[in-house]
């Protein structure tokens, strides 16, 4: 019984290493398949046609004259030494550039999701307490709006409302909290609706379960029983919704960063994509893969812990 977990751990480790290698290879190949040559683009930005000699020198300096597999090996070797290479555009270490921006994007993406889960859950409970009340109508409206209104339009609307009309925040030159408040609100607005409706649906299902009937038989009111005994089901259901919402958080963060002018990853990545800044794009893709993978793993672990039944069945 002692050897099995070790063997499983070893297998998991090997699977992790293989997964990481695949992620790195996919990020590298995807970026290198983008049309457009970074050297040409860079020379074109100088407003004159670069001669072949200049292009060759630049290509050699950047290591782009090496075979592709050798460039991949160099890149992996650099990463193992925590060296992600240098940005083609700024000539600064990519890791330092990303590290300076990551906290903004991380705070906006995760803050927006957290706010969305919190308000969505509260709204879902309120909707369930009064099925035809304002909360229920509002949550339905949020879901429809999130599917039909472009995120950049909502971002502009939030900017106008909270910064121009109400003057609650100064998104450009205020404190760090002010600078991320607007973008977090945008991400949260789009995330709230789905969590509210899933919470509502889960609570409706809970009300027909035998253990809920038992709680009622013990003398609890319907609302108290939902609060006391529906929480576990709601967490499990919302954890399932959180996985696809992670993808939205990446896109929503990018849009809101651009609209609010936050110095996060998004603007930097847009520039990097335009100039085919390979080192930046590769590392960004790896960071996104790793973040999504880690978050997915944490959510799965949370669900298993709260509701181990699927694991047992497997």
């Amino acid at each position: 019984m002692e050897t099995l977990p070790h063997a499983m751990r070893g297998r998991r480790f090997l699977e992790g290493v293989a997964f990481l290698f695949l992620v790195l290879a996919a990020a590298f190949l995807f970026v290198r398949m983008l049309p457009g040559d970074p050297v040409d683009i860079r020379l074109q930005s100088s407003m004159v046609a670069g001669d072949e000699a200049t292009a060759a020198v630049m290509r050699s300096t950047l290591g782009l004259d090496q075979p592709l597999w050798l460039q991949f090996v160099d890149w992996i070797g650099g990463l193992s030494r925590l060296d992600g290479g240098r940005s083609l555009a700024s000539d600064r270490p990519v890791l330092a550039e990303l590290a300076a921006r990551l906290p903004w994007s991380f705070a906006i993406g995760n803050g927006g999701l957290l706010l969305g889960v919190t308000f969505g859950t509260l709204l879902g409970y309120a909707s369930c307490f009064h099925r035809h009340g304002i909360a229920s109508a509002f949550s339905r409206m949020l879901v429809i709006a999130s599917q039909s209104i472009p995120s950049f339009a909502v971002a502009f609307l939030v900017f106008w409302l909270v910064a121009v009309e109400l003057q609650w925040i100064r998104p450009v030159f205020g404190s760090p909290i002010e600078r991320i408040a607007g973008p977090i609100l945008v991400v949260a607005l789009f995330a709230t609706g789905p969590f509210a409706r899933v919470t509502f649906g889960t609570l409706v299902a809970v009300q027909s379960s035998s253990w809920f009937m038992t709680a009622l038989a013990k003398g609890l009111s319907r609302k108290r029983a939902m609060i006391a005994h529906g929480g576990r089901s709601v967490v499990v259901a919302n954890a399932a919704v959180l996985v696809p919402e992670l993808g939205w958080a990446v896109g929503g963060t990018a849009v809101s960063e651009i609209v609010f002018g936050v110095s996060g990853l998004s603007a930097y990545i847009v520039e990097a994509a335009a100039s085919r800044d390979y080192a930046v794009l590769q590392l960004y893709l790896v960071a996104i893969f790793v973040w999504l993978g880690t978050a997915h793993g944490c959510i799965t672990a949370l669900r298993s812990r709260i509701d181990p039944r699927p694991e047992v069945r497997r």
């Binding site: 457009g36 040409d40 683009i41 860079r42 020379l43 074109q44 930005s45 100088s46 407003m47 004159v48 046609a49 670069g50 001669d51 200049t54 940005s87 555009a89 700024s90 000539d91 600064r92 550039e97 300076a100 919190t118 308000f119 509260l122 709204l123 409970y125 309120a126 307490f129 009064h130 502009f156 900017f159 909270v162 910064a163 121009v164 003057q167 609650w168 925040i169 100064r170 998104p171 450009v172 030159f173 205020g174 404190s175 909290i177 002010e178 408040a181 009111s221 609302k223 108290r224 609060i227 651009i258 609209v259 609010f260 002018g261 110095s263 603007a267 930097y268 847009v270 520039e271 335009a274």
Partner: protein, 500 residues
């Protein structure tokens, strides 16, 4: 009911406290003295003026300077240099102004400037566009010899080009000579500046340049009161800015030109008669109306320059139709002309970085349809790549055609057969001779006369059709209400940028 009230109250209390907390933080920060905030849609890609267009950006940001510059009237005037004299066909002596220092306190000497500019020439191909590779040799503390690869009578103008911004490589980053010096730089996002204490008349304000990727975001930030200077506001946002007495919007003419570049390598557009017909059909006044600003222009240069021609020929659609008839393009049953079974259909490209160009597309499509030319409008994110590929019929293009105040820049780069940006693929002996003559012309009146001939030849053959000299819009807070914009986007942060 009690539970519902608790839930509602919790929701309301959370939202209120969240916003109240933010508002409190906002007020506390407002109380502090803040720098002048400049919002714009571009920022330097890096601090190394030898790389790409960073030299232009650093001059525009008020950080770097050239030996010579262009003043608000379009004249080339001394900046770090005091004079330049020609010693021979390809040799010049340049004398530096005494008493100038870099922002780290190092004196500006001929050896420092020579080293800086030699590095620019070595690393940036843009520096070799006008007169080839330049050599800079220090003679004494304030004098250096400049050797050009091709003869030029206008070295001052060449040295005013953005590739020749001066920077000294210091141990803690580059040092410049402009009115402001760099405090911190977030690539692609923000640039914090403080007054350069070694500049002639140091400003009393720090400056922060914030980049917005979207013009509408810039307009909203300006409207919210956070921005002191919002550069190049979108036309559609102007009403919003002007409605507020606390802010003003100033509109100013720029030296950019909106141009249509015709690909003469295409069979249809290789015929000069077709190109001229297109040129004669365009109603520039209607374009100005569509983009809500600017002046119709049939010249390669803006009218603020002495070589810019202000005259605009009237639209002549009947004449254009006759030219197309003569070229063998006859009206088809659907109104589109055909020749040997081929429809007269062309692609018209624009790029989103200049929104005005996209606005112009449907106007031009409708105008060309009137003489039987079918137009398919398209957009590209990579205008330069498309231009170089030659995979277009007509490309709308925004260009500062005299960035150093001299007419030689544009024809040498865009119209000469060997021009680095000869996107039209046009080869014309007469134009090449005019470009060569302009390179060698010494007297200002002679240069103006040749520039006019270049304009006339361009109008005649129409490989490039000038359309509009645009106007741009700058939003100003009360602190900067007296700021006067000039110099397009080349000189935004200047030494006179100060608040009362």
């Amino acid at each position: 009911m009690q539970d519902l009230s608790i839930s509602r109250r919790a929701l309301f209390a959370s939202a209120t406290s969240f916003m109240a907390g933010i508002a409190a933080l906002s007020r506390s920060t407002l109380a502090q003295q803040r720098p002048l905030i400049i919002g714009q849609t571009f920022i330097a890609g890096g601090l190394d003026v030898a790389e790409g267009s960073a030299g232009w950006a650093m001059v525009s940001h008020g950080v770097a300077e050239n030996l010579f510059t262009v003043d608000r009237y379009g004249h080339v005037v001394p900046q770090l240099a005091s004079s330049a004299s020609r010693d021979g066909d390809m040799a010049w002596s340049v004398t530096l102004s005494p008493g100038r220092r870099f922002s780290d306190g190092t004196p500006v000497t001929a050896s420092e400037v020579s080293a800086a500019l030699s590095r620019n020439v070595e690393r940036n191909p843009a520096t070799r566009a006008s007169v080839g590779r330049l050599q800079f040799i220090p003679i004494d503390d304030l004098t250096m010899r400049v050797i050009t690869e091709r003869p030029t009578p206008v070295l001052k103008s060449v040295l005013a080009e953005w590739g020749f911004a001066v920077a000294r490589a210091g141990s803690s980053g580059p040092a410049f000579t402009g009115p402001f010096r760099v405090v911190s730089f977030e690539t692609g996002s923000r640039l914090a500046l403080e007054p350069n204490p070694h500049w002639q008349r140091p400003s009393s304000h720090s400056v922060t340049i914030v980049r917005f990727q979207d013009g509408q975001s810039l307009a909203l930030a300006f409207r919210s009161g956070e921005i002191d200077l919002a550069f190049n506001l979108p036309v559609e946002s102007l009403g919003m800015g002007r409605a507020d007495g606390l802010r003003t919007v100033k509109t100013f003419p720029v030296a950019y030109q909106y141009l249509a570049i015709l690909n003469t390598r295409r069979t249809v557009l290789s015929d000069e008669r077709v190109r001229r017909a297109i040129s004669m059909t365009i109603d520039r006044a209607q374009i100005v109306q569509a983009i809500r600003g600017g002046k119709p222009s049939a010249s390669l240069w803006a009218s603020i320059f002495p070589f810019g021609d202000v005259s605009v020929s009237p639209t002549d659609r009947r004449g254009a139709a006759m030219l197309l008839d003569e070229a063998g393009w006859v009206p088809g049953s659907d109104g589109v002309r055909t020749k040997n079974g081929v429809r007269l259909s062309i692609s018209l490209w624009a790029y989103p970085q200049r929104p005005d160009l996209a606005t112009m597309q449907p106007v031009l499509r409708s105008q060309l349809a009137a003489i039987g030319i079918a137009v398919e409008t398209r957009m590209t994110e990579q205008a330069t790549t498309l231009a170089r590929s030659g995979d277009f019929d007509i490309l709308l293009w925004a260009q500062h055609t005299a960035p150093a105040g001299d007419p030689a820049f544009f024809p040498g780069l865009f119209l000469a057969s060997d021009g680095g940006n000869n996107f039209a693929g046009w080869h014309d002996g007469a134009m090449d001779r005019l470009v060569a003559a302009l390179r060698n012309a010494v007297r200002p009146d002679e240069r103006v006369a040749i520039a006019r001939q270049i304009d006339a030849r361009t109008r005649e053959a129409a490989p490039v059709i000038p359309l509009v000299t645009p106007e741009w819009h700058v939003g100003l807070s009360q602190r900067l209400a007296s700021y006067e914009p000039w110099g397009s986007d080349y000189y935004i942060v200047r030494g006179d940028l100060t608040a009362p």
